[in-house]
């Protein structure tokens, strides 16, 4: 039999090696799954890769998908650092999009730069408020934030659907349930062929990374995440930290909603969050809550999403195969943490180890 012993000799190189190895194991397992489903795994993987990076056009598409993933992940990361399980990214994206769309649809005579700025602020506030609600319930009544944030996702989807079919329905759409398209002034311009959201996202990632590492707020968030008791003893106002951090967490998701509505959909739809709120949970965790790592991981996942939709047309493999692939990777990386923390030794050496 084997028993586990806490590792003391773990270097960050070794830990990274274990994680890379776990991803390889995950790919192997996913390959087996694809083979069982009757397809050639190598063929499928290489097609996914080509579907995501095979041409300039596809690369742009992949990057366009990675923008919301990166920003949502960074938003969620702030909450996860405090062990506040915000899985409401989806709803916060939608509510941000809702607030921004309200501005876009009602103030379209405002000059473009000002209008876009107003939409940004509105998106931030919309997403922030939607995250503030579960944070408030958590600090006030200690309710389970996981369930509340998830329930708020469903409510946000129903709310946008309601607007789409009811009060906000475009009278010019001939009865088709859609909200009017934004005017040109409300649409984010492109920079180097991809909408300007990428630059905004990069700036936000840098700011958040620096804040988390060097600012007082970032330090307080880290302490609250380690131990609420420690935070209290050291004089940190825990409730205020949770509330303000969650407002920012949801606010960043809200900006994602603004950018998706403005640059990608050019209107508000109930489907614009496209599952980013959920995928971002995976990317955030895989990045070990590190803002810099979030960028490559998110691009990898964007490639899987884009490649997944490509194999759907090429092989008639349902797009959900990409979701399965992502979650298998997640399982392996979660499991690999054990081997970062512990090593297995034969049970016979028990006595020496104990001393």
């Amino acid at each position: 039999m084997l028993r586990m012993v806490k590792r003391t000799d773990m270097t960050s190189d070794k830990a990274a090696l274990i994680r890379v190895f776990s991803i390889l194991c995950a790919l192997f397992t996913a390959g087996l799954f694809i083979a069982i489903m009757g397809h050639n795994p190598i063929h499928v993987f290489s097609s996914m890769f080509m579907g995501a990076f095979g041409s300039v056009f596809r690369i742009k598409d992949t990057l366009t998908i990675s923008i919301p993933l990166i920003l949502t992940s960074v938003g969620i990361m702030i909450a996860f650092k405090m062990k506040f399980w915000n899985i409401g990214g989806e709803g916060q994206i939608l509510m941000g999009a809702f607030f921004a769309s309200f501005i876009a649809l009602n103030f379209d005579s405002v000059p473009k730069p000002l209008l876009l700025l107003m939409m940004f602020i509105a998106g931030f506030i919309g997403g922030g408020l939607w995250a503030l609600l579960p944070a408030f319930l958590k600090v006030k009544f200690d309710t389970n934030e996981t369930i509340i944030t998830l329930m708020l996702n469903y409510i946000a989807i129903k709310w946008i659907t309601y607007l789409q079919y009811g009060p906000w329905k475009d009278p010019k759409s001939m009865g088709f349930p859609k909200i009017a398209n934004f005017s040109d002034a409300a649409i984010l311009p492109k920079i180097l062929g991809v909408h300007a959201g990428w630059l905004i996202t990069l700036v936000i990632v840098v700011v958040v990374a620096v804040m988390m590492k060097y600012s007082k707020k970032g330090y307080e968030i880290a302490v609250v995440g380690e131990s609420i008791d420690t935070a209290k003893y050291s004089g940190i106002n825990v409730n205020r930290v949770i509330l303000s951090a969650l407002f920012v967490s949801g606010g960043l998701c809200g900006i994602v909603g603004m950018m998706e509505a403005s640059a990608v959909n050019q209107t508000l739809t109930a489907s614009l969050s496209a599952g980013y709120g959920y995928t971002a949970i995976i990317t955030t965790w895989l990045s070990a809550l590190n803002a810099a790592v979030i960028i490559p991981v998110s691009i990898l996942f964007a490639a899987m999403i884009k490649g997944g939709s490509f194999i759907q047309t090429a092989f008639q493999i349902p797009q959900a195969a990409a979701d399965v692939l992502q979650s298998i990777i997640l399982f392996f990386v979660i499991g690999s943490e054990f081997f970062v923390q512990y090593k297995l030794v034969p049970k016979s050496s028990k006595k020496e180890e104990r001393t």
Binding site: R3, M4, V5, W85, I87, L137, F141, D142, T143, N144, T146, I147, I148, L150, M151, L152, Y154, I155, K158, W159, T161, Y162, Y165, G166, Y278, I281, I282, W285, P318, A320, A321, A322, D323, V324, Q326, S327, I328, L330, F331, I334, G335, E337, F338
Partner: protein
């Protein structure tokens, strides 16, 4: 009219009841499994698929239970053996289940289950009991699955409160170190109950796809797994109260159709079950009492070596 409504309430509450009981057993073992939604979906798709190809109602349900338990095994291995974070492991299971069921289910869209299966789950009136005025028609003129649900809630209650095994389980969830010291195989208890919980969640999903709907829809559970997790808190980890809670929420989920005649948008009415879940969670968090507290060891990994 009113009888028909309450009959539908019981039907709508049944998937919630199975999933709630499943999660309750899991949490009693000290494990918060947020993968209920995923396990229900995997059970739903496995049950529907086997039902479609074998036309055998019993095989379909057994397949759903096995599929639910198998997916719970992933969670169990990660959290019991590898001591991984329970929240993240459960979330991953939900993402996995959503993807896998959608992947497999693509082939089932638009397919119809055979008459044999549909008829098997037709309502059966229980003699005498079904003749009780009003209540009899609602409670005792249902399909056999629903009767199994009543029975199961009582059985889980007896198991937890009256049997030695159940008491051991409670000990494991409350204080694994003490349970271990008194000779209980902690990990075995955890595994067995996580798997049982998964099997029940799978069954709840299969009730949706085989009896309640009965056809395949992508993401057929539509958040019911999460409502079940909230229901465990709502019913204070008590299986008898789970029976009541599940039907209450079943009622809320279908009340929308009945209120349509008052000219309220369906989309707004669809928010009701989610909204009420939030309200109920807040209310049950407000009145903290010893009796309503979760198992002490919930979400805390147990390291024998670090005892």
């Amino acid at each position: 009219m009113i009888t028909a409504f309450f009959t539908a309430v019981i039907i709508a509450g049944t998937p919630l009841l199975f999933a709630t009981l499943g999660e309750l057993i899991t949490e009693k073992a000290g494990h918060l499994n947020l993968g209920v939604e995923g396990m229900m979906l995997i059970g739903a798709v496995a049950g529907f698929g086997v039902g479609l190809y074998t036309s055998n109602p019993i095989f379909a349900m057994i397949a759903a239970m096995i599929a639910g338990a198998a997916s719970a095994l992933i969670y169990g291995f990660l959290t019991v053996t590898l001591r991984a974070n329970q929240v993240v492991s459960g979330l991953s299971l939900t993402i996995f289940g959503t993807g896998l069921s959608s992947y497999i289910g693509t082939a089932f869209v638009g397919q119809k289950l055979s008459e044999g299966i549909i008829n098997f789950y037709n309502p059966v009136a229980i003699p005498l009991l079904s003749e009780i005025p009003f209540i009899g028609q609602i409670v005792f003129n249902q399909d056999i699955f629903i009767y199994f649900g009543y029975l199961l809630a009582v059985l889980v209650g007896i198991y937890l409160y009256k049997t030695r095994l159940g008491q051991n389980l409670v000990a494991v969830g409350e204080n694994p170190a003490a349970a271990d010291a008194s000779g209980i195989n902690v990990n075995l208890y955890k595994y067995v109950h996580i798997l049982m919980g998964g099997a029940l969640c799978g069954l709840g999903g299969a009730y949706l796809s085989i009896v309640e709907v009965p056809q395949w829809q992508d993401n057929i559970t539509a958040g019911r797994g999460w409502i079940a997790i909230a229901l465990v808190i709502f019913c204070k980890w008590n299986p008898y109260k789970a029976l009541f809670g599940a039907y209450l929420f079943g009622g809320l989920s279908i009340i929308g159709f009945r209120l349509q005649q008052f000219n309220i948008s369906q989309n707004l009415l669809d928010m009701l079950p989610y909204l009420v879940t939030i309200i109920v969670l807040v209310l049950s968090s407000v009145k903290h009492s010893k009796e309503s507290a979760p198992p002490q060891g919930l979400s805390v990994p147990y390291f024998r070596e670090e005892r």
